[in-house]
Symmetry: C2
C-alpha cells in the first residue's frame, strides 16, 4: 500500500480517537450548539458547495457514470437546504447520553449503568454526499468522533462539506478532528481502516452488497452490517387481495433502488389463480419486469422463469420474482433461507397465519398488512438514521442516535472488597 | 483442513441453526422445564462424569499440564453439585424473551420492539468443564441454540456433560441439536467455526488473550470479545490510605488468575512516600512480586524496574507493577492508553477526582472506592454470566441472559403504504 495513504488513514484515526473523549465529556448543550453551527455554515456555504459539486458531477459524467448515480451525486440549492435542515433536526432531538439505570447491591455498592458514546466511529459509504453530513451529525449527536470514507467521485464535494462542519466545530471551541474525511481516494484505505482496532471502536459500511461483504470479510474492528435488502411480501390464502395489490405495488415501486423495497412476491397456491392476473397487470403497468417460479409460469406463461440464484439476490430495480408456496410455513422457511433478514411482510386477515409469520420470520422488521417500505428511522419515529442493521449484534433494524452509543458501569463504593 | 473435521463443524452448525427456531418459539415454561431436567440429569450422572473426568485429568497430568490448570480441569462431586445447582438457578431466573416496547405511529402502524434470541451462538472456551454447562444453560435460557467448542484436554468430560444435557432436552421433547459439542479436538475447527456466517449468529470466545486475539483476527461471524483484563487501581492524593490498602490487596490477591484482578497500581506522587512502604509490605506479605516505574524504584530501591511492555499486559498471577503519576488526569490517560478497558478503580475522598476518573476512564466498569473484583454477573445481580465483554458493541461488562438476545420489530398494519 501507498505509504502516504496509510499515513493519512492512521494519522486521522489516531487524532480522531484522541479528540473523542473531549466530545464524550462535553455537555449536551455544547453538542447541540455545534450541530446548529454546522447547519448555519452549510447554509452559508451552500452556493460554493453546489458549484464545486458540479465539477464532481461533470467529472463523473465524463467517466461514463450512469444517470441514476449522477443524480445521487448531485447537490442542488434545495438539496443543500435539506441537508442543513437535517443537521438542525438532529440538533433538536432529545439527548440520549447519560441515560441509564442505577441499583444498589446488598453490600452497599451502587451500580450505575450509564449510556456513553462508542468513541471513534468509522463510516464507509458510497456516492451520495448528503450521507457525509447526515452520518456525521447522527454519530456526533451520540457523542462520537467520526472518520468518514466517502466515494472518490464525490471527493471535492465531501471536502467542502467536511471543511464547513470542521469550521463549525472550531467556532464552538471543539477540535475539528472530531469529524474527519479520508481523502486519499485509494481503494486500499478501506482495508487499512477496518483493521485499526487500536483507534476505531466500530465500522459502519453503508452501501451495496459488494462494499458490505468486503468490509465483513476483512474487518477486525467490530462491524455493524447495514442495508442489504432482499425483502419479501407474502400474500396469504386469507389475504384481502385489494390490500395485497396496494401493498405489493407500493413495496416494489415506491422507490425501487432502496434496501426496504420488496424484491420477491410469495403467493399462497389457493389464491394464485385469483391474484396473479391482477398483480401481474398492476406491476406491469408500473414497468416492473416480472419473473416466476415454474408454478407461476405455468399460470402466467408469458413470464420468464426466474433462475435459481435470483431468490437470493437484491435487484434494487423495477424487477420482481414471484413464487407460489403451499403454506405460510413454507413462506417462512423460504424467507429465512433466501432472504437478507431485513424486512418481510405478510398480507392476511387470518390471526394464526399472522402469528406464524411474525414469530417465524427471522428478520429485523416483520410486517402484517403494511408495506416493507416503512423500515426507516424516520418512519419508525427515531428522527434520522445511520442505516438499517441486518445483523443481530448491537443494533437490528433502523439505527438512530441511541444505537450509536454503548454503556459503562460506574460503581460507587465505600471501601468494599470481596 | 481435515475433511472429517470440517464436516463435523459444518454439520453441527447446520443442524443447530435448523433447531434454533424451535427453541425461539417454545414457551418460557418449556425452557425452564428443560433447564430443570438438565440439572436433574447432571446430578444423576455426577458419579460417572467425575470418574471419566479423572481420566482426562490423568492424561493431562501425564502430558505435563501445570497444577493450576489441572485444578481447573478437575470435577469433584461437590463441583458437580455446584454445576447442577447453577443450571437450577438459571432455570429459576425470570424469562427475558418477548419483553419490549410498543408505540403507534401517526399513520396507525403499531410498532413492537420485541426481545428475541440471537439464534445459534458459538462458544469457544478453554479447560474448565463447568463452562460447558454454565455457558450452554445461559445461552439456552435466552432461547439460543448453542455450539460448544471446548478444550481437547476436557473432551471426555465435555462429551458426557453434553450427552446428559441432550438427554434432558429429549426428555422434554426438544431436539438434542440445540446443545452440541464439537469433538474433533483439531485446532483448525476454530478457524472453520468463526467463518460460518451462514449458520452462526455470534461467536463468544472465553479464554486467554491468545484465543481471543486469534478469533478476532480470523472471524467473519460477529464476535463478542471477553475477558482480557489489564485492570488498574489508582490511589489518588485524596485517598484514605487504609481503604486503599484493603482495596489494592483484595483486587490483586483475592483471585489473581481471573480477568477482574488488578494488575497495575497507580499512585499519586503526593501520597507515594506515605503509601508505598505500606502497600509494598502488605502485598509482599501476600507473596506478590512487585515491579515499578523509575520513580517508584527510586523510592523503593529493592524493587526491579518494570519493562515497558509490562504496562500493556495481563499477568494473571501474583505480580503487580506500580507507577507513580502526577495527576488524576495522567492516571486516566495511562489507563485509557495501556489498559484493556475492563475494570479500573480510583481510591479517593475527593468529589472532583472521582468525577474526572469515572467520566474519563473508557472501561466497561469504573469503580470509586471498591475492588475491581466486583465486575461479575453474580456480583452485579445478573444471576450467572457468559463472560465479561470488553468491547463496546452489543454488550459491555458482565453478560447475563439479557445480553444474549437481540430484538425484532413487529409492525402491525391495516394496509398502510408510503
Amino acid at each position: 500500500m501507498d505509504t502516504v495513504v496509510q499515513n493519512e488513514v492512521v494519522a486521522k484515526a489516531k487524532s480522531g480517537k484522541k479528540a473523542a473523549p473531549l466530545l464524550a465529556t462535553a455537555s449536551a448543550g455544547k453538542r447541540t450548539q455545534a450541530l446548529r453551527a454546522i447547519a448555519t455554515r452549510l447554509r452559508a456555504q451552500a452556493a460554493d458547495i453546489v458549484k464545486k459539486n458540479a465539477e464532481d458531477v461533470e467529472r463523473a459524467r465524463q467517466a461514463g457514470t450512469a444517470a441514476s448515480l449522477l443524480d445521487r451525486l448531485t447537490l442542488t440549492p434545495a438539496r443543500m437546504e435539506d441537508i442543513a435542515a437535517g443537521a438542525d433536526a438532529i440538533a433538536g432531538q432529545p439527548d440520549v447520553l447519560g441515560e441509564g439505570e442505577t441499583w444498589t447491591r446488598p453490600n452497599g455498592l451502587e451500580i450505575q449503568r450509564v449510556r456513553v458514546p462508542l468513541g471513534l466511529v468509522g463510516i464507509i459509504y458510497e456516492a451520495r454526499p448528503n450521507v457525509t453530513v447526515e452520518a456525521a451529525c447522527i454519530a456526533f449527536k451520540a457523542g462520537n468522533a467520526v472518520l468518514l470514507r466517502g466515494s472518490s467521485s464525490a471527493l471535492q464535494t465531501n471536502r467542502l462539506l467536511v471543511a464547513a462542519m470542521q469550521e463549525a466545530l472550531q467556532e464552538v471551541d471543539l477540535p475539528p478532528t472530531l469529524i474527519q474525511l479520508i481523502e486519499s481516494g485509494d481503494r486500499h484505505d478501506v482495508d487499512e481502516l477496518v483493521r485499526l482496532n487500536r483507534y476505531l471502536d466500530v465500522i459502519i459500511p453503508r452501501g451495496g452488497a459488494d462494499l458490505i461483504n468486503r468490509v465483513v470479510q476483512t474487518a477486525t474492528v467490530p462491524v455493524i452490517e447495514t442495508g442489504i435488502g432482499n425483502c419479501h411480501v407474502y400474500v396469504d390464502k386469507a389475504a384481502d387481495l385489494d390490500k395485497a395489490t396496494r401493498i405489493v405495488v407500493n413495496a416494489k415501486t415506491h422507490r425501487p433502488s432502496v434496501c426496504n423495497s420488496a424484491e420477491k412476491l410469495l403467493v399462497h397456491q389457493d389464491v394464485a389463480d385469483a391474484f396473479l392476473p391482477v398483480i401481474v397487470k398492476a406491476l406491469s403497468d408500473k414497468n416492473v419486469k416480472l419473473k416466476g417460479c415454474a408454478e407461476t409460469v405455468r399460470r402466467q406463461p408469458h413470464l420468464p422463469v426466474a433462475p435459481d440464484q435470483d431468490w437470493d439476490i437484491e435487484y434494487l430495480d423495477l424487477v420482481m420474482a414471484i413464487k407460489i408456496v403451499n403454506t405460510v410455513e413454507q413462506a417462512v422457511e423460504h424467507i429465512n433461507q433466501h432472504g437478507s433478514h431485513h424486512s418481510d411482510a405478510i398480507v392476511t386477515e387470518d390471526y394464526a397465519a399472522s402469528r406464524t409469520f411474525t414469530r417465524g420470520v427471522d428478520s429485523a422488521a416483520v410486517y402484517v398488512n403494511a408495506s416493507t417500505r416503512f423500515t426507516d428511522g424516520g418512519e419508525f419515529g427515531f428522527g434520522g438514521e445511520m442505516g438499517i442493521s441486518t445483523q443481530k449484534l448491537h443494533a437490528r433494524g433502523p439505527m438512530g442516535v441511541r444505537e450509536l452509543t454503548t454503556n459503562k458501569y460506574v460503581v460507587l463504593g465505600s471501601g468494599q472488597t470481596r
